[in-house]
């Protein structure tokens, strides 16, 4: 097993800090958009960890799909729900929920420390497998397993993606009106000729015609 070099440790330390800072940001941000952006930070940190393990393709996918697409989807959903309504995070929905969550969290960490200490091969050192051989070989190996052992799983993934589209259309689409409806009253735009920027009161959100 390769010993972890100083650079490896430095890379791991830096990205671990980024990952954890992002994760804490997700939990403590009062504004959901900030939470989603903190998530991007975490995902980038994880991508760096993947790079340190020489899993370049995985790192690229992490950035393209998770940081790119999935978080964009999150932001869409947050904007659909309306970010102008702040949630009161200070109130507990269930009594005693937080202390119990805290205790369970501590118990989980203790469990992990205990179990990983008992397992000799969890060292956090750099991957010994490395890139299989030559440039692009990781992707090559991936393609091979995709088209051999995991062929079936790969093919039914396409059905899974189609289901996602069908589901989104069914749940989000308004059925076409049978007869031409009366034109919906347009929301009268509030013209901001003299914006009062120092006005602390939140501006009420413009009513979007409800679908």
């Amino acid at each position: 097993m390769l010993a972890a070099t100083k650079v490896d440790v430095a890379v791991f330390g830096a990205s671990a800090v980024i990952v954890l800072a992002g994760a804490i940001g997700v939990v403590i941000s009062a504004n959901p958009v900030h939470a989603a952006l903190s998530l991007v930070m975490t995902l980038f940190g994880v991508a760096v960890l993947f790079v340190a393990q020489e899993a370049h393709f995985l790192a690229a996918v992490q950035v393209i799909v998770y940081a790119g697409a999935i978080v964009v989807l999150f932001l869409f959903v947050i904007m659909l729900l309306g970010v102008d309504r702040r949630e009161n995070v200070a109130r507990e929905e269930l009594r005693g929920q937080r202390p119990i969550a805290f205790l369970l969290g501590i118990a989980t960490i203790a469990e992990f420390v205990l179990l990983t200490r008992g397992t000799s091969w969890v060292t956090g050192a750099e991957s010994v497998v490395g890139p299989a051989s030559g440039p692009g070989a990781n992707v090559e190996t991936l393609a091979r397993s995709l088209f051999t052992r995991y062929l079936l799983a790969f093919e039914i993934t396409s059905v899974l993606l189609v289901i996602a589209v069908v589901g989104a259309v069914v749940l989000a689409r308004r059925p076409p009106p049978e007869r031409p409806e009366e034109p919906e009253p347009l929301a009268v735009p509030e013209r901001l000729h003299t914006p009062q920027l120092d006005d602390a009161a939140p501006v009420p959100a413009t009513e979007v015609p409800a679908p």
């Binding site: 992707v139 088209f147 589209v165 914006p195």
Partner: protein
Amino acid sequence: MSAFLRGYLSVLVFGFAAVAMVGAMLGAGRLLRPSRPQPQKYIAYESGVDPVGTGWSQSQVRYYIFALLFVMFDVEAVFIFPWAIRLEALGIFGLVEMLIFIVILALGLVYAWRKGVLRWV
């Protein structure tokens, strides 16, 4: 330092260069321009028209379908990359399997198109 990390050193250098360049340009602009603050200058720019409401207002659920279609084809691209990199090596078999994959996915697009969600009414 391992060779592959040295490869990423250029990424790091490039990142620093980008930050430095943007910082230098904005900093120079700040030093050179006159400063006359007016409230109108702080309005969000929306195609030259006066903005309607706030930037934080609720958006239409219909945008969601576009976002989801984007994710779907993003994931499809991830599966296509390994195949495209070793196109010849995977041969006819790989081509056929990939075609099945893409055709089934294209059905999702046909469905969305026929249901009229791609048209903004």
